[in-house]
Symmetry: C2
Subunit: 180 residues, 2 copies
DNA sequence: ATGTATGTACAGTATATACTTTACGGCTAA
DNA sequence: TTAGCCGTAAAGTATATACTGTACATACAT
């Protein structure tokens, strides 16, 4: 009997491991590396907050990797540090608001890109228009019109993208599609 | 005068180059590498469909890189192959539906991840429930309940994510936020 | 104050990725 | 059929990234 319960524990670990491996594999989409994904999964299913040494042992990796990995996960608001009196080591536990994680990852990544691109497009547009003032060669003028068309299209797209991002940023998305 | 027009052409190239560099830099979000982003930009602003040799010269990179790069861009529906009678070399031009590109990239990347994770979560849930049948140790039973809670939360999240993806997949998003 | 334990910076190493060179199969035109 | 060109597969090389070991700075306990 004792033996059987032990067996269940092993199988449970295996089942957890399998699940963690899958979500870790896909966590690249959140800008989280594969190994950091496994780190998150490990902390998620831990029964208690973990120390860096715990993680190091659980994953068979250096403590340094755990340190840098945890910092990345904290930056992404996926884990949080907790204090327990009498414990000197830093303790970490998962911060499980996946809806929030999704939106903030989505927003952070796209917001910056959209802003950069929009700025670059505006600048390009200005320059193209300035060139158009000076241009005399009909062919060159034609080319410039085409370029302006493209950059205007881009600007429209960025405006649209901005709206999409805003829906996630403001949380409107949760009114449109309520969390389960 | 001739000299000045030439100067404009140079400045135009520089302005294009600048814009292309920026969008290429951020194109990593679309799963497109930096250099493939520049490749796309080059094709986008080309006045005529380009051959691999054209691109090779324009970017100062090997033809092989252009070949693989173009294939990646074609897979992402960002460039298309065109035929011109009398031209033996393959010709490529940009396929400029950025709205479509965005949604299909978004959908393709997240759809697969969501499906994988959902499948893994269902499987984990089944296993956890099976273990719960066999378990006798109260502590183990408690652990299993916690695990089930987590996996149920995950399943809810995947359901939500599925809905979000569906909005982009079906094009509903364009009714909610019309393209400019 | 001083010894000890803990997290992290730094440098070195291994692995993965991007790119190039070379070589070849397939298509086209004579 | 064959000569020549085009696109790509394969192998090799360089660069970037991920990970480790060591060594140090900081904070706590005595």
């Amino acid at each position: 009997m004792e033996r059987e319960q032990k067996n269940i524990q092993d199988k449970l670990d295996e089942a957890r491991h399998q699940f963690i491996a899958t979500i870790a594999q896909n966590m690249g989409l959140y800008g989280v590396s594969d190994t950091n994904g496994r780190l998150y999964g490990t902390v998620l299913f831990a029964e208690r907050p973990m120390t860096l040494d715990d993680m190091s042992e659980a994953l068979g990796m250096s403590k340094m990797s755990m340190s840098t990995g945890i910092r990345a996960l904290m930056d992404a608001d996926m884990v949080e540090r907790v204090w327990e009196k009498g414990v000197r080591k830093d303790l970490y536990q998962s911060h499980d608001d996946w809806y929030q994680s999704f939106t903030s990852v989505f927003v952070n990544r796209w917001r910056e890109a959209a802003d950069n691109n929009q700025k670059a497009a505006r600048r390009a547009k200005e320059e193209f228009e300035a060139f158009l003032e000076e241009a005399e060669d009909p062919y060159l003028i034609d080319v410039l019109h085409h370029d302006l068309e493209k950059v205007n299209y881009a600007l429209g797209y960025y405006e649209w993208l901005d709206e999409v991002i805003r829906i996630f940023e403001s949380g409107e998305i949760f009114a449109m599609i309520p969390p389960k």
